[in-house]
Symmetry: C2
Subunit: 532 residues, 2 copies
């Protein structure tokens, strides 16, 4: 029997807002400081954004970029842009100007919305992106760019829209990831994929119409693991947050009786420290979902100690954020907290909506035995895998070789089937939840005239888990100080990517001349950095 | 960007069992009396069923029929049959032999599995269905048909299967509905539709890995509103139940600390009566999902009184069972119980996964105003609407006329957008040009302490064309005269709505506990009333 329009509606997370604004029109959907929007007001603002974008020529397939922290305009963009079948590009606010310029050009963005706090990032590249209309979002400072600000921009009579799409495989967003090969790659998400991932999230974390979700996780990071849509689906409340500061988080939890948040372990560490110093508690059962790095048992214990329930999930930008979860079992309820924390450090098993994940021997492509010992690479496939890299068919094919997505993460499988990451196939450094490509940093260092050879590896850090450390061999007769090299990097890449230590050495190499990073990693581990 | 196999897996509820058997292999997935199957055992039995079916020649598109109550073999069939891309036909166990014969022939079933309790139904038509292999399911009696019984049938070495399908629009089941026009119609469900409906159910009722679901709702009824798959998805536990008897239900709730059940209001009435007589209570927060007829406020009050949380959902076989729900709002939490019960009698708003429903003026096909007064017909569209009627293209087109599915239910829309059914198009009583909602009159009768069950239908009348007639079943040991009941109604509703005749009877019911109004209508037609 063929499908027909009466029984086939392409899946799109847009439908969540349509339904929630109908069911809960008067309910507060979005909170930001003292501003609240009901779901009807939220929908109205979304429709006004879409109408204004349309009036500025945005149509199906066009890209609209946002450089903006977790405030309502960026949330609205997750609906207003796709409402025109256009594609949202939410950019990491910590990137340096050249990186943002690259993303704007690679994606082909037609309009850029910039929160004025980040105007400086754009100022220096303004001449290089003349074709792109820039709209200021004036949340904390006055307007800096010509033309309307965001509120003026959306001050139009809203059209009415169909909250759907005509093909569920169409792109909805492009999220740039710092890949292994220097330049960021644009990861393309579909309407179908985001719909299913959003449902997967709320199923996994029990988000329902009574939940209140605090926006600690950046919306520009995998669209906030699709929570930008997922929280809306059951009619829960979004609590926006400009700056992720523990004091502010605890205040919001108390003020709004919040129930959920997602954050990298580094955020949890700072929350735990704050809670300890300030004798703060949290409503029992507050749900925390963490990822980006395995949370240390110490952090898990601390957070559970103040009333939270911490769960780890695991994924990558290429799989819409989370793909697996350390699914909790009732029989573990009564374990001692140390034992619980040890289990919770595992990356676990696929979501209900993701299903397809395995750990393969990189040579034979056969699944490794479930012995808790044998290392293999985590691979995934199914609806939770990206459409591909924007404009990079070769890199896409490479990532999808053998019909699976290669995560680049090395893991073991425990006898109970739960996966645990042991190392990284690629040399990604995860600092405070953000991926840093060592290759990208190395490439910058290599730009310096005094650098002969270099290698960047992760160095343990008290607060950020990992920070980049560079080992450098200088050219003969050339001189430069570590500080000068760091300053050189700062001009070119985001601050968090700049090596926190630089050591001049003869680099250890294999017989064929490959730098032996595993040795450098051992060297870097000898001390734990504290410098920010 | 085109989809490819790495990022596109056709949606199928089969994936739920694949994932749950991986994540919770040792967890009890199915309970039936003193038998339990872990999810790994459940999956193994499913694979053995599929393997055996394959050995008996079943392939893609073939139909396999089951005439069986809510015991493990029927649950296994919901996976084992589709595993071959074959189609399950679960038949209502209360049907008469000619009806079953019609369904077997209309669907073209190749194998029929029969619980021996219902062997009689088949015995008399055995000669007419010679082409169909019959397998006995010997749960309560010995084998009656030649050949292997179910356990012997599945006693094979299981092959390993891909728990998926190559096209998500393919049929997974055919569910026969007793239409209004005589012959039952085969409603065809797809893998995609059942996947989405199952997720919609568990999202709506908060079913998670700790839930225990009692099988009071027949699995042959819309595949148990897709709970056959939905309960498996998060790794909750199925508790099978052969006979829906209040005593047994309460025993299971206590024994297994069950958390959820679905049932028609008549089942709730009998549960409430049993609870009252036996001073039974239920763990607080036990979730009951009811549909099939609007539950009377009296029943809702009684069930909430013993600790249950009752929610009404609404749908039809043609929309995979439930489509809408009386979504509860926090601001209603503190209302008096009468007021709550009044709200809970509404059919409400669409599920997160269904979205598209409206109430249209039958003439203009325009939405009725949200005034809580104007009657229109409920229509639905989207992924939760059947593929169509099996082998009935004309009836399918008729049901889908105007691009929407016509429910045949008459409803109003309240100012808050919640829909409330006033009657079936065919159940409405038109008396002297005035519409009388049979549901309204029934709700008044239910308020009387002596009334256990009732149904009001049209009775021909010399002067008024139609008048309401009530069929009532009294509670055990209770007494009241028809005149007293009429007087009771007169105090509460307009005189023209008061039944002109009241007869005490055992109400005829369908297998799912729905009162069979068409039979009552026949009874009522036997004489023409003259009393005003």
């Amino acid at each position: 029997m063929p499908k027909r329009s009466v029984n086939y509606e392409p899946l799109s997370p847009l439908s969540f807002l349509e339904r929630t604004a109908y069911v809960f029109p008067e309910k507060v959907g979005v909170i930001y400081n003292d501003t609240t929007y009901t779901y009807l007001e939220f929908k109205d603002r979304v429709c006004r954004l879409a109408t204004a974008l349309k009036q500025h020529g945005i149509e199906k397939g066009d890209k609209v970029a946002f450089l903006c922290p977790n405030i309502p305009p960026l949330l609205e963009a997750h609906y207003g842009v796709p409402l025109l079948s256009a594609i949202l590009v939410a950019i990491n606010i910590r990137l340096a100007s050249p990186e943002v310029e690259y993303i704007l050009k690679d994606s082909g963005a037609k309009i850029l919305f910039v929160d004025t706090e980040f105007a400086n990032t754009i100022e220096s590249i303004k001449d290089n992106i003349k074709d792109i209309m820039v709209v200021s979002i004036c949340d904390v400072e006055d307007k800096v760019f010509d033309g309307p600000d965001y509120e003026e921009f959306i001050d139009v009579k809203p059209e009415s829209f169909h909250f759907g799409i005509d093909d569920e495989i169409l792109p909805i967003t492009i999220n740039y990831t710092s890949g292994t090969t220097g330049r960021p790659k644009g990861v393309v998400y579909s309407h179908r994929g985001t719909y299913l991932n959003a449902l997967g999230e709320i199923l996994e974390y029990g988000i329902n119409s009574r939940s209140k979700y605090i926006w600690t996780l950046p919306m520009f990071h995998c669209n906030g693991w699709c929570h930008t849509w997922g929280v809306t689906a059951p009619g829960a409340t979004h609590i926006c947050l400009r700056r992720v500061v523990p004091e502010e988080i605890f205040k919001l939890i108390e003020r709004h009786q919040a129930t959920h948040l997602c954050a990298a372990p580094v955020v949890l560490s700072s929350m735990a420290a704050y809670a300890e110093n300030n004798k703060v508690n949290i409503p029992k059962g507050f749900v925390i979902n963490t990822a980006g790095a395995p949370p240390s048992p110490t952090v898990i214990k601390a957070m559970e100690g103040i009333g939270c329930s911490v769960t780890q999930c695991y994924g990558l930008t290429e799989v819409y954020g989370p793909h697996s979860v350390c699914e909790w079992k009732e029989e573990w309820d009564e374990l001692p907290i140390d034992e619980k924390a040890r289990i919770k450090a595992r990356q676990g098993v696929p979501y209900i909506t993701t299903v397809y994940m395995d750990v393969l021997d990189p040579t034979t492509m056969e699944p490794v035995p479930h012995d808790g010992k044998t290392l293999g690479e985590i691979v995934m496939w199914g609806n939770n895998v990206m459409l591909g890299y924007h404009n990079k068919p070769e890199e896409t094919d490479q990532a999808f070789r053998g019909g699976v997505f290669h995560s680049g993460d090395l893991a073991i499988t425990h006898p109970d089937g739960y996966v645990e990451i042991k190392d990284r196939l690629k040399d990604i450094i995860i600092s405070g939840g953000e991926n840093i490509s060592s290759v990208e940093v190395e490439n910058v260092l290599y730009e310096h005239p005094a650098v002969l050879e270099c290698a960047v590896v992760a160095m343990p850090h008290e607060k950020w888990q990992e920070v980049p450390k560079a080992f450098v061999k200088l050219k003969e007769g050339m001189k430069v100080t570590p500080e000068e090299l760091m300053e050189f990097c700062k001009q070119r890449i985001a601050k968090y990517k700049v090596p926190k230590e630089i050591e001049f050495v003869d680099l250890p190499k294999t017989a064929t001349g490959k730098i032996q990073k595993h040795i450098l990693r051992e060297w870097a581990k000898k001390k734990i950095a504290t410098k920010e």
